[in-house]
């Protein structure tokens, strides 16, 4: 009797979980692509973990807190690793609507991925779109920062070049007028040459021209 019941239950379960059955989802794992050498083999223990994660996701849905691991059925496990799963309700005769399962999986996708060390691309739930990560926009985009740096440097360089140009021009302007100034001053100043003022040279009349050395001074005294 017990065996008959067992076979009946298995048969019903087999009908509920079939490829392309109603409310069934196909899952595909790419373990070797994700983990390379550290890939684990897919065995019944991993299947148990998967059922546990699905049950965990369903328990978070209101009205479905009583979902057990035995309510998650897996079938058609291939070498790819891919399989189909359904979630049946406690009465064990019909499957839960796909929409509920879909939203539950989406909400807990991250936890499920982490349980298997996979990500959205290597643990695929066909027909359940994953929510993409929001773009990581820093508050100030990097390009503005670098632009600010470059632009400030350029503006400073331009200012320095203009200022140095102005200074050069001012210095050039001062030199010819400076030369003129000294010429003017010469006429007012007494030019000293050899320690003797030039003025005596201009004077007319019989004055001793002190610009000339006297005879006595020409020869050094013994």
């Amino acid at each position: 009797m017990l065996w008959l019941l067992f076979f009946l239950v298995t048969a019903i379960h087999a009908e509920l979980c079939q490829p392309d059955a109603e409310n069934a989802f196909k899952v595909r794992l790419s373990i070797r692509t994700a983990l390379g050498d550290k890939a684990y083999a897919w065995d019944t223990n991993e299947e148990y973990l998967f059922k546990a994660m699905v049950a965990f996701s369903m328990r978070k849905v209101p009205n479905r807190e009583a979902t057990e691991i035995s309510h998650v059925l897996l079938c058609n496990v291939t070498q790819r690793v891919s399989f189909w799963f359904v979630v049946i309700d406690p009465s064990k005769n019909h499957t839960l609507p796909a929409v509920e399962v879909q939203s539950a999986i989406r909400k807990n996708r991250n936890r499920i991925n982490n349980a298997f060390s996979l990500n959205d691309q290597t643990l695929e739930f066909l027909k359940i779109p994953s929510t993409l990560a929001p773009p990581t926009d820093p508050s100030v985009p990097i390009w503005i920062i670098i632009f600010g740096v470059i632009f400030c440097i350029v503006i400073v360089a331009i200012t320095l070049l203009i200022l140095s140009g102005i200074r050069q021009r001012r210095r050039k302007n001062k030199e010819p007028s400076g030369v003129d100034d000294t010429e003017d001053k010469c006429e007012n100043m007494i030019t000293i040459e050899n320690g003797i003022p030039c003025d005596p040279l201009d004077m007319k009349g019989g004055h001793i021209n002190e610009a000339f050395m006297t005879e006595d001074e020409r020869l050094t005294p013994l």
Binding site: T33, Q79, T131, P134, P135, I142, W143, I146, A157, G165
Partner: protein, 614 residues
């Protein structure tokens, strides 16, 4: 007509000293920097690949020898001899030719507008390269984050970044859209950098050119070494350089080789004349011309090796991804274990499955993967830099670093060409004395840069890229060909071949040999005329159309072919004719002035014979 005033060696220097190059290296680097530009990177490799690889070098070298070097020598010689910018030089040769100088200035102005806009795009990409992952590596998610943005999904992340996040392009040239502030501030920064470098003329460009002319060579070498060590590089190089000689029978090859040499050396802009005018008069300009032209061509070749090793890597990468996608489809459909089909086994497995389960295989989206198809996906112009190369860089380890290097190289390449363009505008204006003497040079350069920046803001509109293509296709080529033809004819026939040869003998110590005389007198003018006629014929035959980026197009991501509306065609016509119109207008003005003078003289002194030759 050859009665131009005798230019003495010290003409124009009696007032104040003409600025001089600090040393010969600055002058050579400036000319090389002006000649070597973005076209060496993104036009020459494309032409090489399209026109039969190594076979393209044959028409290229012939054009270089018979057209490029002789014209280049003419420009350097007259600039060095007459020691003025383009307006002064052509006015000195003949007052009727002064329009040529004015046209060159106007053309340099138009070209610098759009050339610096390209540099603004390069700067934008450069600024965005300082992050990991690169912003063009993945599509942004859409609003409810279930998938990627549709436009990006349909094309590719790289195209989306270029057309939407950089240009924010409209689907039609009539729809101008709004000014993109990101591009506007990049453009402002570019013009500020240009101003900083040309602020005191060659005094500042001479210092800046040491960096901007040599940095690209350093980066090209790094890319060459890295590129050659990437897988698939040799395939790219073999594909590029495998000669197919029968393509030489196509006249388009010869036309494109001649135009490529011509535009690559940046002839007829007036920039080389301006640079040469700052030389000491006794300088061997013949050797300079040959050296600079050869360096320019060598650089093109060097760059194409680097570019094609990277593109070979990219093609191999795409080919392997194509194979991997097909293999994954097969594995997923038939539930084979992961990684059970290698790339080499794929054809055999596919054939086996097609024979055993044809219906299931037919349902799969399998693409035909051929390496040649990916190698054929070449591009020229901005498409090469901003779409193809950016995608190639994504697959290289350490992508942000390579992107920074690449866009830094493009920026310095373009910047050194901009120096030549700006000197072509500023030197003639300075020589002409448009502003009073007390206005400093910094103010003149500042005004020119400001005027250019304000005019170029139209390229930061959403339809700016379409306008830039118009400028690139219509403003420059025809005018340059006409100006170059007039240059050669003006120097050889108006100035006089004998006088020109005497001048060169005085400057370099040797008279030009028969090769030079023959090319100047016959070969180059004839070549230029042929190229001009062929160019105009080709242009007239092609309907004036452009390719628009339209996400609503059925064949998206292919670009939609649209005809230019009437007002745009008028603008094209204006752009092509405006610089050239200066030549007849100035000649006419000169003729009227001469007639007025002779009439006045005849009426003041009616008895004397007025044998005034024009």
């Amino acid at each position: 007509m050859a009665h131009a005033p005798e230019p003495d060696p010290a003409s124009g220097d009696l007032g104040d000293e003409r600025p001089k190059w600090d040393n010969k290296a600055q002058y050579l680097l400036s000319c090389i920097g002006f000649a070597v530009g973005l076209g060496n990177i993104w036009r020459f490799p494309y032409l090489c690949q399209t026109y039969g690889g190594g076979a393209f070098l044959v028409p290229y070298v012939i054009a270089l020898v018979f057209e490029g070097i002789p014209l280049f020598h003419v420009e350097l010689a007259i600039g060095q001899r007459l020691r003025k910018g383009s307006i002064g030089v052509w006015t000195a040769i003949s007052p009727y030719f002064s329009g040529l100088g004015l046209g060159c200035v106007m053309l340099s102005f138009l070209v610098s507008l759009y050339y610096n806009t390209i540099l603004a795009w390069v700067l934008w990409y450069f600024l965005n390269s300082f992050q990991h992952p690169l912003p063009w590596s993945s599509c942004p998610p859409d609003l409810n984050r279930t998938g990627f943005v549709e436009e990006c999904q349909g094309s590719s992340a790289v195209s989306y970044f270029w057309y939407r996040q950089t240009l924010n392009i409209t689907a039609d040239i009539n729809d101008s859209g709004s000014i993109q502030w990101r591009l506007l501030i990049c453009l402002a920064a570019c013009w500020a950098v240009v101003y900083m470098c040309v602020i005191r003329g060659i005094e500042t460009t001479g210092k800046a050119i040491y960096f901007t002319a040599s940095f690209p060579y350093l980066v090209l070498t790094i890319f060459l070494i890295r590129g050659l060590t990437l897988p698939g590089a040799t395939k790219g190089l073999i594909y590029l350089f495998t000669p197919s000689m029968q393509i030489l029978q196509n006249p388009r090859v010869w036309l494109d080789a001649a135009t490529q040499i011509f535009f690559s050396l940046s002839l007829a802009f007036g920039g080389h004349i301006a640079f040469a005018s700052y030389n000491s008069p006794r300088n061997d300009c013949r050797k300079d011309a040959v050296v600079i032209a050869l360096v320019n061509s060598m650089t093109s070749l060097y760059a194409s090796i680097a570019v094609f090793s990277i593109l070979g890597f990219k093609a191999t990468n795409s080919y392997e991804h194509c194979l991997d996608r097909n293999i994954l489809s097969l594995i997923n459909e038939f539930d084979f274990p992961e990684q059970s089909i290698s790339r080499d086994d794929y054809p055999a497995v596919l054939m086996h499955l097609t024979t055993t389960q044809p219906r299931r295989v037919a349902r799969l989206p399998l693409k035909a993967c051929h390496l040649e198809d990916f190698l054929d996906k070449s591009a020229s112009g901005p498409g090469l830099a901003f779409i193809v190369f950016t995608e190639a860089v994504l697959h290289m380890p350490g992508a942000p670093g390579w992107a920074v290097l690449f866009f830094g190289m493009l920026f310095t390449l373009g910047l050194s060409s901009m120096f030549g363009n700006m000197e072509a505008i500023i030197t003639p204006l300075l020589d002409k004395g448009v502003l009073p003497r007390w206005v400093p040079k910094e103010a003149l350069t500042g005004l020119v840069c400001l005027a250019c920046f304000l005019s170029a803001t139209c390229f930061t509109l959403q339809s700016g890229n379409y306008w830039l293509e118009i400028f690139d296709n219509f403003a420059a080529p025809l005018n340059l060909l006409i100006f170059a033809f007039l240059e050669v004819v003006g120097v050889v026939y108006v100035y006089g071949m004998k006088r020109f040869c005497d001048d060169i003998a005085w400057m370099t110590g040797r008279r030009p040999g028969p090769y030079w005389r023959l090319t100047w007198r016959v070969v180059s003018p004839l070549l230029l005329l042929t190229i001009f006629v062929a160019y105009v014929t080709l242009l007239a035959r092609k309907p004036l159309s452009y390719r628009a980026w339209n996400p609503q197009y059925e064949l998206f991501p292919s670009r939609q072919e649209k005809l230019y509306p009437g007002w745009v065609r008028a603008a094209c016509m204006l752009l092509s004719l405006l610089p050239v119109l200066w030549v007849p207008m100035a000649a006419l003005a000169q003729l009227l002035t001469w007639r007025k003078r002779t009439w006045r003289d005849r009426h003041v002194r009616p008895d004397t014979d007025t044998h005034n030759l024009p």
